[in-house]
């Protein structure tokens, strides 16, 4: 498949962004974390492309350091 899309792919970007914030703002930090985990799983399945999901995982990790400093 085509792999990870990195150019705009949504129409109402601001609405989606706001919905993400709104859904979490009302939650406790623990529930917000749970919410994000569920959302990741739902979206990964929606993408339906193992390679794209793996690339997204790598992309999201970019620039973040391992907790042990390595």
């Amino acid at each position: 498949m085509a792999g990870l899309k990195t150019t705009p792919n949504l129409n109402r970007t601001d609405d989606v962004y706001q919905a993400l914030i709104d859904a979490q703002e009302v939650l406790s930090p623990a529930d917000a974390e749970r919410f994000r985990a569920r959302l990741i799983l739902l979206l990964a399945n929606q993408v339906g492309d193992d390679e794209a999901v793996q690339e997204a995982i790598a992309s999201a990790a970019e620039g973040l350091e391992n907790a042990d400093g390595s």
């Binding site: 974390e33 749970r34 985990a37 569920r38 990741i40 799983l41 739902l42 399945n45």
Partner: protein, 530 residues
């Protein structure tokens, strides 16, 4: 010992080796007459090669331990001659339920794929399988099993291996050309050679019990995450023959072994699960922590490690015993070829090349399942909860639920014994893969493809041409001539071309058309030649 099983005690017999003034030499000695060592001994006996099996015990497996026998093991057992007994005694099951708390998340039905002689898996206690193997070994009458013979030292020399064996009559020494270490997870041979066993040990304890219970509960696998009857862990209920039910209860990292093994502490746990007035007796039980570890190499000169002695996994996915059976399936024919001079010693190297990746795959799958069931950190716990949250209403999430991915046979993808395929690779089986079964008719009789393969090299000719071929020096099964593909399933699974099958029913090579020279070259290559 399991109370429901009638254990036979195998007699200790004094061997003439014990009276010899110098150590008697044997071509092959197998240390350990457990599941894997016995299967190896039977395989060698079928090839007419006598081995000496020494076992420190005189009975089969104390507890039922392994209960899930996978299809590939059953196919190997067919070749060894105990497949029918296993399947007749065993329980075939397809259905299961996954619960969270006391609430059903989903039910599943693993409908078997049609056109295979054997089901995807059966449940059968390990002691049954071992007892069938002992019977078969005795029936073949090639080789010798020495019970109450405990190996206490092993020394590797240039041209032989020397052993000291302890018996009720005291110790004696023997030597051998090849030593098969099938002495289980605590392998004395591994310790004697001081070989590191590398990997991971999991913290959680699991209480594993078998109970005998008359119950009309359906034959299905039930798995609970955090049930209210058992705070803080997972639980499993699964049926075995003889009204024996397997129960796994996760106890967490701090369980006190001595306390937890007391019947007065086990009973309330079981009653909470099965009902306060449930009538059952405890048949066998043990407390385990699990590990996923392996030797860096399975071959150490003249010593070859198989089964749990070579690699061990947590039982989720039933890959321990099933993986070990595939080890011996891989090793026996190679050692036979080396012993009878039709292959160089180096053929044995390919045992490492093929079975180490297989062990790694089993370790990876077992580790993932164990991590899902007993999350080691906050991230694992978070994602597991998220998966379970979604699984009830979203079928996609059920695919993430992992209480064991059942053992499937390994494809020896990068095997040094395979010859690259020159046939249309878009269908059929690639070199390295195990043969696939199919229903066929031979001389008007319904039979199975796999019943005709194994033990020797052979050719499966899928080309529907009428051509007469030069004799390739091995048995040729031609579709349309020797085998009638009445259901079209052989063609569906194999496509066209000529398959060179190894003695362990794996594909060595596949050719578009018949070329006796190419076939001979591929066979030489599959025997470790260049």
């Amino acid at each position: 010992m399991a109370k429901s099983f009638a254990y036979e005690t195998y007699p200790y017999r004094r061997s003439s080796d014990q009276d010899a003034s110098t150590p008697v030499h044997h071509p092959v000695v197998v240390v350990g007459g457990g599941l894997v060592g016995l299967a190896f001994a039977v395989d060698m006996a079928l090839h007419g090669v006598p081995v000496v099996v020494v076992d420190d015990n005189n009975q089969v497996s104390t507890g039922s331990r392994s209960i899930c026998v996978a299809k590939r093991s059953l196919e190997i057992f067919d070749r060894l001659g105990i497949g029918d007994r296993c399947v007749e005694k065993g329980i075939t099951w397809n259905k299961g339920k996954v619960l969270r708390g006391d609430h059903l998340l989903y039910a599943f039905d693993l409908q078997p794929e049609p056109g295979h002689k054997r089901p995807a898996f059966i449940n059968l206690q390990q002691y049954y399988v071992e007892s069938y193997l002992v019977d078969r070994f005795n029936e073949l009458g090639v080789g010798e099993a020495r019970w109450l013979n405990k190996v206490t030292s092993v020394a590797q020399h240039d041209d032989h291996v020397a052993l000291t064996i302890e018996t009720p009559d005291g110790p004696y020494d023997i030597t051998c050309d090849w030593l098969i270490a099938a002495d289980g997870v605590k392998s004395a041979v591994r310790h004697a050679l001081d070989l590191p066993f590398v990997g991971e040990t999991f913290n959680d304890h699991f209480l594993i019990t078998d109970v005998v219970m008359q119950s009309d509960m359906p034959t299905e696998r039930r798995f609970w995450f955090d049930p209210s009857f058992h705070g803080g862990g997972s639980a499993l209920l699964h049926k075995q023959p003889d009204s024996v039910w397997r129960i796994d209860l996760q106890l967490g990292p701090d369980a006190d072994r001595e306390e937890e093994m007391k019947e007065e502490n086990i009973l309330p746990r079981l009653h909470a699960m099965l009902g306060q007035d449930a009538k059952f007796t405890i048949d066998w039980g043990s407390l385990y922590t699990f590990q996923c570890r392996r030797l860096e190499k399975f071959r150490h000169d003249r010593v070859l490690f198989v089964g749990d002695a070579a690699h061990t996994v947590s039982p989720f996915g039933a890959r321990g015993g099933n993986g070990g059976i595939q080890d011996i399936d891989n090793l026996a024919w190679k050692l036979v070829a080396v012993l009878n001079g039709s292959a160089p010693d180096s053929l044995v190297e390919s045992y490492d090349a093929e079975r180490i990746p297989a062990a790694d795959e089993n370790i990876m799958n077992s580790t993932r399942a164990t991590d899902f069931m007993a999350p080691k950190n906050a991230t694992m716990a978070l994602f597991r909860e998220a998966v379970l949250d979604l699984a009830e209403h979203h079928p996609f999430a059920r695919a993430f639920v992992n209480s064991g991915r059942l053992s499937v046979p390994d494809i020896y993808e990068n095997s040094p014994l395979s010859t690259a395929c020159d046939a249309d690779a878009s269908d059929g089986l690639p070199p390295g893969s195990p043969a696939m079964d199919a229903p066929i008719t031979v001389e008007g009789r319904d039979t199975w493809l796999l019943d005709h393969f194994g033990g020797h090299f052979c050719l499966l000719d899928m080309n529907q041409d009428g051509a007469a071929h030069e004799d390739p020096g091995m048995h040729v099964f031609k579709i349309g001539r020797d085998f009638q593909d009445t259901h079209g399933m052989a063609e569906q699974r194999y496509g066209s071309g000529i398959y060179l099958m190894r003695p362990d029913q794996h594909v060595a090579a596949r050719f578009a058309s018949f070329d006796a020279d190419a076939i001979r070259t591929a066979q030489r290559h599959a025997l470790g030649g260049t």
